[in-house]
Each structure stands twice: as structure tokens, then as C-alpha cells.
């Protein structure tokens, strides 16, 4: 189902055609027969919500993943990519969101990493290296010095080094994955100039982002993905944000304003002042019993880090909190657990679970106190807790002590939830609670969160998925550029107001 291509209007020939690509991960169909064409000399944006399949598609094109179905035709030839290296040799380069330079080496050495010019004796030909680097830098129009140490440059410059690699390799297709995530406004502007430069040199560019203003600014065409499916391609100069958003969301959301108003109880946690070094400067927030507070913001805005400060995992030089009205200091997770705070972390596999342990063992970890007699663990109690939550949360697990490694994402997440519910917390912080979870389990988790709030628990939901925030929140705050830019009671919650929060300066 290829869109009505307007390729005839464009000068460049087709650089890459993606034909019916599907990619399946355990439990999730990440890409479902996606087809897109990219032309030489165009900036083609790929846009969609988190989890729409943008990154998976890019990784297929760059050779990191192999597609289960479909094929790629690059410059008229069908290609079968087995590694990023092979893609690179063909002229396809993915520039990752995280910078992948060798911090100890010079700019020149980084640009020519893996292909340093050297003479017959194996000595590096520095003159040639620097000359070629200067050429590349001049061609790209960058303000870089070949002999600077890469690790000492500001992030934006480091990104330029990565892009310079594309120029040096003479890549004909360059993929940018959320390149502005860690850039300031001015730096982003410089990046766009660079991208335009590449484009003028006839390079095809795939640009992944979920920031609509940015896409309108830089791209020629934009293709939209939703839940792994291709939704259509639009000519950027003919559309506005609303048209793209309509394709991105595409479903009828329950209008949050129609839900019955909640009646929040007393203040559970109130933070008068919190600073997260490198992320957030003196924010304030509070959450009440029976209330779901949504926390929206872009990836990298410091939301998870904020949760880590609250939970005692991260130091903060400046924080003042009250718990049920009394001033407290939380300096370790055990303090937080003792007070009655739970944290369902964003990274389930690294922070949420001990994969080789059983469901029961994982669940009782923060509440060992409750299942012990004089330090000895009561297996009966453990099993009872596990069975209790297995039933309440409908967890499909083989048994209380079977390793949770092989469970699906949804069931693993429910075990993490059960783990914190077993501590009977007053406040539960959920960081991206439905990431990597299939649609069915997602709905169940959403229902559970609402029920918990109804039963009087205070809840903070951190999410970069707008629908999730809109669906769950009784109140939402938007974090952007180190500040709380919006605080929205449910009556004012809408996509519009949330987007305003992350675009305002």
C-alpha cells in the first residue's frame, strides 16, 4: 500500500525503496508491511509516536536488524543487509541518537576511524589525514578543527563529527535518529544547515523525529507510521501540524474531559523545590491521594532522573520535600520504600527485574520484611503473595519460582507492578509503564492504574506517549528545558496544550 507518490515532481531519482518490510519481536509486530521511497536530494521525515516503529525501520535499513519479510532496493539494486558495516560500505549511514565517537581521539581520527590513511610501514599519514579532514570539513561547511580532541567538544560539535563521517564515506543515504534530542535551539539550527548542505550534495536523508515543528522546518516529505503500520506520505509544504497529528494518532481517544472528576484526598508528597543536576532546575510539584499525576515531556527532558531523585537513587544538591505534610529527606531507595513509595522503572530488564529469579522472588524483594520471621523467609507467604497478585493482575507465569526471563513484556511488567503493590505504597511512580508491552496488556495496565488511584493511591505516571497521559491523568505537568512549563488540570488537558508545553521556550 504505497502512497500516492509525488516522485515525478522531484528532481532526484529514487535512492531507496522500502518494499513491504515486516519485523516481528517476541510478542510484538514492530513493523507491518511498511513501504516508503526516499529520493536523492530530499529530506524525508519519518514520524510517529513512541513505539510506532520508526527506530525499528531505521535499524532495518541500516543493517542492524534483518527484516522478516519484504525487501530493500537501494539505487536500483536489491540488497540483503547483514551488518551495519555492510550497509555503510554500500553508502547507508545511521547517525545514532547517542553519539558514538572515541572521546580520547582527535576529530580527524574519529572521522576516518577504521580507514586511517597509512603508508607501507603502517605509519599513519598524518598530513594526508589532516588534508582530507580539512577537505571534508570544508565540504560540509562545519566549524571544526581537525586536531581537537573529540571528547572535549560540546555535544553539537561531536554530532558534526559524526555527520562529517558521512561526508567522508561519501554516503548517499544518511539516517538521522532524533538528532536534536540533546541539542539547544541554536545548535539544532546549525544542524539543519548541515542537513541542507548534505541535501544539496544530492544525499538522500531520512530524518526521524516526533517533533512536528522541526519536521515542518527541515523535511520535504513526511511519512507517518502508527503501531508499526505505514499511514501515508505527505508533501511537507502542503500540510500543517494538524494533518500530520491526525495521521499519527488516527484513533478516537476517549475524551478525557468526559470522565467523572476525581476527588483527590490529602497531599501525599509535595516537593517545594527540586533540582536535578544537568536536567531540571528548581521545579516544584505535588501529588494527592487518589490522584494520577501525568508527567509529560520529551525523551531526555529529565523526567526519569526526577523520579530517581524522589526515590533516593540520585543525589540532588537542592531538594525539599514533604511527605504527608512532614518534611523528609530520602537519601536511599530503602528510605523511599520505608516511607511507602514505589517506583516502576523505565528500564524493566536492567532496573525492574532480576531475570533469572522467579516471579515470587522478584515480587517480595522490596518487601522481604513482610515475609520473614527472625530473618528467615517464609516460602508459604511468598507463594501466597505471588498467587494473590497473579490473580489480581492476571499474570501468565509458569510458577512462583520459574525464571521470569522468558515471560512476555506485558507479564514482566505486571510482575514489576505486583512487586510494588505488595509493599502497599502510598505513592507509586510509574516510568513509561507500557513501553514494549503489547496492546492488550497495555489496556489492562491502564485499567489497573486507574483502579489503584480510585482505591486511594497517589500515582505519578511518566510517559512520552501523549494518549497515555491524556487517558490516565487527573492532572498533568509538562517538563521541558529543565522547567515545568505547564501544569494542566484535567479540564485543560489536550494534545494541543501538551504540545505547547514542549514547544514553548
Amino acid at each position: 500500500m504505497k502512497a500516492n507518490d509525488k516522485s515525478s515532481q522531484r528532481a532526484g531519482e529514487i535512492s531507496l525503496s522500502v518494499n513491504g518490510i515486516s519485523k516481528r519481536f517476541p510478542g510484538v509486530l514492530a513493523l507491518d508491511k511498511v513501504s516508503v521511497d526516499v529520493h536523492a536530494g530530499e529530506v524525508h521525515a519519518i514520524c510517529g509516536e513512541n513505539g510506532a516503529g520508526k527506530s525499528t525501520l531505521m535499524k532495518v535499513i541500516a543493517g542492524n536488524y534483518r527484516a522478516d519479510e519484504g525487501d530493500l532496493v537501494f539505487r536500483g539494486v536489491k540488497i540483503d543487509l547483514r551488518s551495519p558495516l555492510q550497509a555503510k560500505e554500500l553508502g547507508i549511514l545511521l547517525i545514532h541518537q547517542e553519539i558514538s565517537l572515541v572521546p580520547e581521539l582527535t576529530v580527524a581520527e574519529n572521522i576516518f576511524l577504521g580507514s586511517l590513511p597509512y603508508n607501507r610501514m603502517g605509519f599513519v599519514d598524518w598530513q594526508q589525514l589532516y588534508r582530507r579532514t580539512e577537505e571534508v570539513i570544508a565540504k560540509a561547511g562545519f566549524k571544526l578543527s581537525a586536531k581537537d580532541i573529540a571528547g572535549e567538544l560540546p555535544v553539537a560539535r561531536q554530532q558534526m563529527v559524526e555527520i562529517a563521517r558521512a561526508v567522508a564515506l561519501q554516503s548517499s543515504l544518511v539516517i538521522f535518529d532524533e538528532p536534536t534530542a540533546s541539542l539547544t535551539e541554536a545548535e539544532a539550527k546549525a544542524l539543519f544547515d548541515t542537513i541542507r548542505q548534505l541535501k544539496e550534495n544530492g544525499v538522500a536523508i531520512l530524518y526521524i523525529s516526533h517533533k512536528l515543528p522541526e519536521i515542518l522546518q527541515i523535511s520535504d516529505r513526511v511519512s507517518v507510521l502508527r503501531d508499526g503500520r505505514y499511514q501515508g506520505t505527505l508533501q511537507t509544504d502542503e500540510v500543517d501540524e494538524n494533518a500530520i497529528t491526525a495521521l499519527m494518532i488516527g484513533r478516537h481517544l476517549e475524551n478525557p474531559n468526559d470522565r467523572p472528576a476525581s476527588h483527590p484526598g490529602d497531599e501525599v508528597l509535595s516537593i517545594d523545590r527540586i533540582t536535578v543536576p544537568g536536567f531540571i532546575d528548581q521545579a516544584e510539584l505535588s501529588v494527592h491521594a487518589g490522584e494520577i499525576l501525568g508527567m509529560y515531556g520529551l525523551v531526555g527532558a529529565g523526567r526519569s532522573e526526577l523520579a530517581e531523585v524522589i526515590f533516593g537513587l540520585r543525589d540532588s544538591p537542592d531538594v525539599s520535600m514533604r511527605w504527608h505534610g512532614k518534611p523528609v529527606k530520602i537519601s536511599s531507595p530503602s528510605d523511599a520504600v520505608r516511607l511507602g513509595i514505589g517506583l516502576v522503572p523505565e528500564d524493566r530488564k536492567d532496573h525492574g527485574l532480576i531475570l533469572d529469579m522467579g516471579g515470587a522472588t522478584n515480587m517480595t524483594l522490596p518487601a522481604l520484611r513482610a515475609v520473614q520471621h527472625f530473618g528467615f523467609i517464609s516460602r508459604d507467604k511468598e507463594v501466597r503473595i505471588f498467587e494473590d497478585y497473579r490473580e489480581k493482575l492476571q499474570i501468565a507465569a509458569r510458577g512462583p519460582f520459574a525464571s521470569v526471563r522468558t515471560l512476555s513484556g506485558g507479564n514482566q511488567q505486571k510482575i514489576v507492578l505486583g512487586k510494588w503493590l505488595s509493599t502497599h505504597p502510598d505513592l507509586l511512580i510509574l516510568d513509561e509503564p507500557t513501553r514494549g508491552v503489547d496492546v492488550g496488556a497495555k489496556a489492562e495496565i491502564h485499567r489497573l492504574i486507574s483502579e489503584l488511584a480510585k482505591a486511594g493511591m497517589a500515582i505519578i505516571v511518566i510517559s512520552s506517549e501523549m494518549p497515555e497521559i491524556l487517558l490516565l491523568s487527573d492532572r498533568a505537568i509538562v517538563i521541558h528545558n529543565g522547567r515545568v512549563t505547564r501544569e494542566l488540570p484535567r479540564a485543560q488537558l489536550s494534545e494541543q496544550t501538551l504540545v505547547e508545553g514542549i514547544t514553548s521556550t
Partner: protein, 322 residues
């Protein structure tokens, strides 16, 4: 903290260059302080004879440290080099009957092969190099004992001793060879593609794999080179003493690692210089020599070894924090 010396520094004024090197390698200041300290304590320290003696004593650990530095810059470690010294020394002594040069070549090549084996195991099984070479430390020692038995071997001819005695003026040949190796390895690290890739792999291995650097080859070659240097250390130890026992070289790997870490090479990989390693090897040799001259018992050396290793670790943590 301490970065490698880049090529563009060759354009700087000589004096500025010296200052710069000293700033990047504070261990040289330590060396100066140690020399000053011991010179005040005893008149026997600051003599041409003793200083060339220090260089001579430094050479054995020096060979190991020089060979190990690229391995550490790669982000790996080789703990088995001390045992290789024993094996090489035993081979060099006991094989004298097949000829002087062949014996030395076989002794060194045997260690090259063991280094190669370590490298291959590390790269192809994915087991951490600490574990692989820790096991090899014991295993290679076992090989040395298996080969030599529980006894001391002595050379039937005096060729080996003569090699050890060779000298140019007050400088022994061993010390000169050591200095030559330092220079060669410094050039290798800072000027050749292999050397630059060695830094790159230690700095960001994933980026190198993505960029098509032959990571495995680089790592394995560095292990083999480290083995070779251990072999050379073994041969020169046999030449110094004219004899060999399979218990030679115990704890040498620790001294070498201490020297490298004190010289500013990060245990996490990616940074370090031969100049730093050289300075640290000399400083440690001066320390041992000085303590000996002011008649501190040799038993304290082990205590100082352990303490400096732990202090070096703490410093490494302080300065090379992510």
C-alpha cells in the same frame, strides 16, 4: 586527564614540550622527588653506577610494562606475564645445547604463542581478560614447573652470562634495549594505524566495530606482543643470573600493572602513554633501590607493593572517572 601525545605537538617549542609532557605525566615529578629524597638519605644513591644500576634493575619489570601497556589501553589486562617470564627463562637456559640463538628464539616464541592463546581465548569466548589471564597465570606457571621440574637450571655455557654482562660504558645492554623498546612502543602507539586503533578500541569498542576497525586482530596482536615482551624479559632475567628456576617472575605482573596505572594508563582503557609507563617503572625501581640502600627489609617491599597497587587504583578511580 592524561591524553596521548598527539602528532601536532612536534611543532611546539622544545621547552614547552617538556613542560607539557611533565604536566601530562606527573609520575616524572614523583621520580624527581624520590631521587632527591634518597640522595639526601644516602651518598650511594646519586652515583652514575647506582643510577645505571637502577635502569638495569628497572629493565625486567620494564619489558613487561612496555608490552602490557597496549593491552591495558585496549581495555584488557594480562596477568600471566610473570609466569611467562619463568617459562622463558627456563627454556632459554635448558635449551642452550641446541645453540645460543635458537634457544633464545624458542624461549621468546613460546611466550608469543601463549600471549596469542590468551588473546584468542579472550576474543573468541568473550570471557573477561582478567579471568582468562588469571587462570593462565597459574597454568603457565604449571607449564614452567612441568618443563623444568622442581629444581634450578643452570646454563652449561657462559654465553648467556656474557649477554647479561654486555655494556656500553656504564650502561648495560639490557638497559639500552629497554630504552629502545620504550621509544619503539611510543612511536607504535602514537604514529601507527595499529597504535591509534589500540586507543580507539579502548575508548569506544562499539564505535570501532561499527567503523570497520579490525578489533579482534588488534586485541590479539597486542596480547601476542605482550607475551613476546614477557619472553624477552625471561631471557634477560636468565642472562642476568645465568640460571633459571620455574618460580621466577612471581608478582612481576603486579609490579608491571602498578607501574602502568601509576604512569597514567586507565584500567578502563582508551588512554595512557609509554612515557608515563617509563617514568613509573623508573620511579618504582628507584624506590626499591633506595629502600634497599637505606637498609629496609625486603619483606616490606611486598607491603609497599600491595599498598601502592591499592593507592594506584584509588587514584585511577579519582582521575579517570567517567
Amino acid at each position: 586527564m592524561m591524553s596521548q601525545v598527539s602528532a601536532h605537538e612536534t611543532h611546539m617549542m622544545p621547552f614547552a614540550k617538556v613542560i607539557n609532557v611533565a604536566k601530562r605525566n606527573p609520575i616524572w615529578l614523583v621520580l624527581v622527588v624520590l631521587i632527591a629524597l634518597f640522595s639526601f638519605q644516602t651518598p650511594y644513591f646519586l652515583t652514575v653506577f647506582n643510577l645505571s644500576n637502577i635502569l638495569y634493575q628497572a629493565a625486567l619489570i620494564g619489558f613487561l610494562a612496555v608490552g602490557l601497556t597496549p593491552v591495558l589501553i585496549n581495555g584488557n589486562v594480562d596477568l600471566s606475564v610473570g609466569a611467562m617470564v619463568a617459562l622463558s627463562a627456563c627454556l632459554a637456559v635448558s635449551l642452550q645445547h641446541i645453540g645460543f640463538v635458537p634457544a633464545l628464539v624458542i624461549a621468546v616464541l613460546a611466550c608469543t604463542c601463549l600471549g596469542l592463546l590468551n588473546g584468542i581465548i579472550v576474543e573468541y569466548t568473550g570471557v573477561n581478560s582478567f579471568i582468562v589471564t588469571l587462570a593462565a597465570m597459574l597454568g603457565v606457571r604449571g607449564l614452567a614447573f612441568l618443563y623444568a621440574g622442581d629444581t634450578s637450571l643452570s646454563s652449561p655455557t657462559s654465553d648467556l652470562m656474557e649477554l647479561g654482562m654486555m655494556a656500553v660504558g656504564p650502561l648495560s645492554a639490557t638497559a639500552i634495549v629497554f630504552v629502545i623498546f620504550v621509544v619503539v612502543f611510543q612511536i607504535m602507539l602514537s604514529r601507527t594505524a595499529h597504535g591509534r586503533n589500540t586507543y580507539a578500541i579502548g575508548g569506544n569498542r562499539a564505535a570501532c566495530e561499527n567503523a570497520g576497525v579490525h578489533v579482534r586482530r588488534n586485541v590479539i596482536v597486542n596480547f601476542a606482543v605482550s607475551g613476546t615482551m614477557a619472553g624477552i624479559a625471561g631471557v634477560s632475567m636468565a642472562a642476568q643470573l645465568g640460571a633459571a628456576t620455574p618460580s621466577y617472575g612471581a608478582e612481576y605482573e603486579l609490579w608491571a600493572i602498578i607501574a602502568i596505572v601509576l604512569g597514567g594508563t586507565s584500567l578502563q582503557g582508551g588512554r595512557g602513554t609509554m612515557i608515563g609507563t617509563f617514568g613509573a617503572v623508573l620511579a618504582l625501581a628507584a624506590l626499591r633501590n633506595g629502600l634497599n640502600l637505606i637498609q629496609v627489609s625486603g619483606f616490606y617491599v611486598l607491603v609497599i607493593l600491595g599498598l601502592t597497587l591499592i593507592i594506584a587504583l584509588v587514584l585511577d578511580r579519582q582521575f579517570n572517572r567517567e
